[in-house]
Amino acid sequence: MIEARSLTKRYGPKTAVDHLDFEVRPGIVTGFLGPNGSGKSTTMRLILGLDRPTSGSVTVNGRAYADHRAPLSEVGALLEARSIHTGRSARNHLLALAATHRISTRRVDEVLDLVGLSEVASKRVGSFSLGMGQRLGIAAALLADPATVILDEPINGLDPEGVRWVRNLLRGLAGEGRTVFLSSHLMAEMALTAQHVIVVGRGRLIADVETSELLEGASSTVMVRSPEASELRDHLASPDVTVTSREAGLLEVRGASPEQVGETARRHGLAVYELRVESASLEDVFMTLTSDSVEYRAASLDGSAA
């Protein structure tokens, strides 16, 4: 369980995290979504006590991370920025971390095996690909068998097989009753992995809902194919309805139900070859949710440049 209470972090004049309140519950994968620069990584650094909050607090299993006697067994973390010395071998990196908690060498070899790095365990990390680096980071996170796992953009740099592996691993970890907190800017990935999502923009909380709920609440698009598309388009257009077209004869209608579109076509005697509903992807929902904060960012940048 991770609990943030009015968590705020300012770097000089910039507010990276702005009065965030959220809970990450055990037993499920909770996604942490937001555009780049929305404060996801900062929030994770605050959870781990790497940065100190300007105000507010965040606790892990009821205590500040640094107040745990064996912190690695409370939280295992993979941060977005690499946290590995490039001159050391993978195994020695893990052995050094293990020594702080007197974790056995056997466990080090076990996690190396779990992430599939046994064969390159004695190679210097500097020679690792991005994907191998991610796997080593995940091995380090799982080293002390933590109750909570935090992963910042874990599938960055992974090949499709690696992505699937991470996805299964995360589900497995959550299935064992662990708290899994996962950040990503890849919405499609979130839809597949996370049951619950926390959406942030410009450091503020935008949504804290079940993934399914988020998708249901999204407006869907009606796709209609007609040989008389331009005519149909004129009849459909109204202040509440937007019609776009990316392809001749195919209209994308937002703000109207398929029944309304069908009725309109019948009323004006227009032929319809295809009428279907396309559900909004999490990506679309996300874009809609965060568009304000992104626009605001752009505007403020213009302002400071002037």
Binding site: R88, L114, E176
Partner: protein
């Protein structure tokens, strides 16, 4: 690769046993970190080679050129100092090693893993200082003992033995001095968090500060000069020097105070600043 091999299940006894994080466990971790980096041993080897190699070379040429040395040169000659002259170069390499021990973690991001495992932070500084001091003292002492022995044998008829007044103090003192310079580098590395910055700060303190004081009115230089880190520390292991210097152990005490001040500043910065 499958998730079925993932670790423990809640409710069952954890398969991974952990112990609380203490300065002792962090020290073990830091020792692993130190010894598993090739650069640690390269720079340490450079330090040992500087102490022994330069001391031996200078001792050899002093003996072979004795007849062509001036009277003043002969008067200023001290056999113990001559064999330990390499410490002047070695202080720079061991200082760099001290800086690198922490700045390498900041440049690679390793420090986030380190502080994630030991979030109270101060044990990290304490453990690094302990491990570094232990390794440095052992290597430095081996180097100064060999340098003295080799140097004296190469000085032949101009040599002195272990019984020479101050010889043992100089040999042990040089090892202590090197260890403390390394700790000073470590502390500066913690404060500035970058390799280049740490080395610049260290060299500034040891090499540039005396030059600046030399350019000031001599009354200032004579008053303050002996208390500068390099001069104060050298008082312990240099038997013969020009100008005014502090008494050996007084000078060493002053140098310890410099290092302690740097370590306290490092501790404050480590606690206070975001990682």
């Amino acid at each position: 690769m499958s998730v079925t091999t993932a670790p423990t299940h809640p409710g069952t006894a954890p398969r991974v046993t952990v112990s609380p994080v203490t300065t002792a466990t962090v020290a073990r971790s830091e020792w692993i970190k130190f010894r598993t980096l090739r650069s640690s041993w390269i720079v340490m080897a450079a330090t040992v080679v500087a102490v022994i190699g330069i001391g031996s070379l200078v001792s050899y040429f002093t003996n072979s050129h004795w007849s062509s040395m001036t009277q003043i040169e002969r008067l200023r000659f001290n056999a113990v100092d001559r064999s330990l002259v390499g410490v002047n170069l070695a202080q720079l390499t061991i200082g760099v090693l001290g800086v690198l021990f922490i700045s390498g973690e900041y440049s690679t991001g390793m420090v986030r893993a380190t502080l994630g495992a030991a979030p109270r932070r101060l044990p990290v500084l304490a453990a690094k200082a302990l491990v570094f001091a232990a390794v440095s003292f052992v290597c430095s002492l081996a180097a100064t003992v060999v340098a003295f022995t080799a140097g004296q044998s190469l000085l032949a008829s101009h040599s002195v033995g272990w019984g020479h007044p101050g010889a043992v103090r100089a040999v042990f003192g040089a090892a202590l001095y090197l260890t403390l310079v390394g700790l000073l580098g470590l502390a500066l590395g913690f404060i500035v968090r970058s390799t280049a910055g740490g080395i610049a700060a260290l060299f500034g303190l040891l090499l540039i500060l005396p030059v600046i004081f030399n350019a000031l009115p001599s009354s200032w230089n004579n008053t303050v000069g002996p208390y500068l880190p390099g001069a104060a520390g050298s008082a312990l292991w240099t038997l013969r020097s020009d100008g005014n210097v502090l008494a050996p152990w007084t000078g060493f005490g002053v140098f310890c105070a410099w290092c302690a001040a740097a370590l306290v500043a490092a501790a404050v910065e480590l606690r206070r600043r975001d990682a």
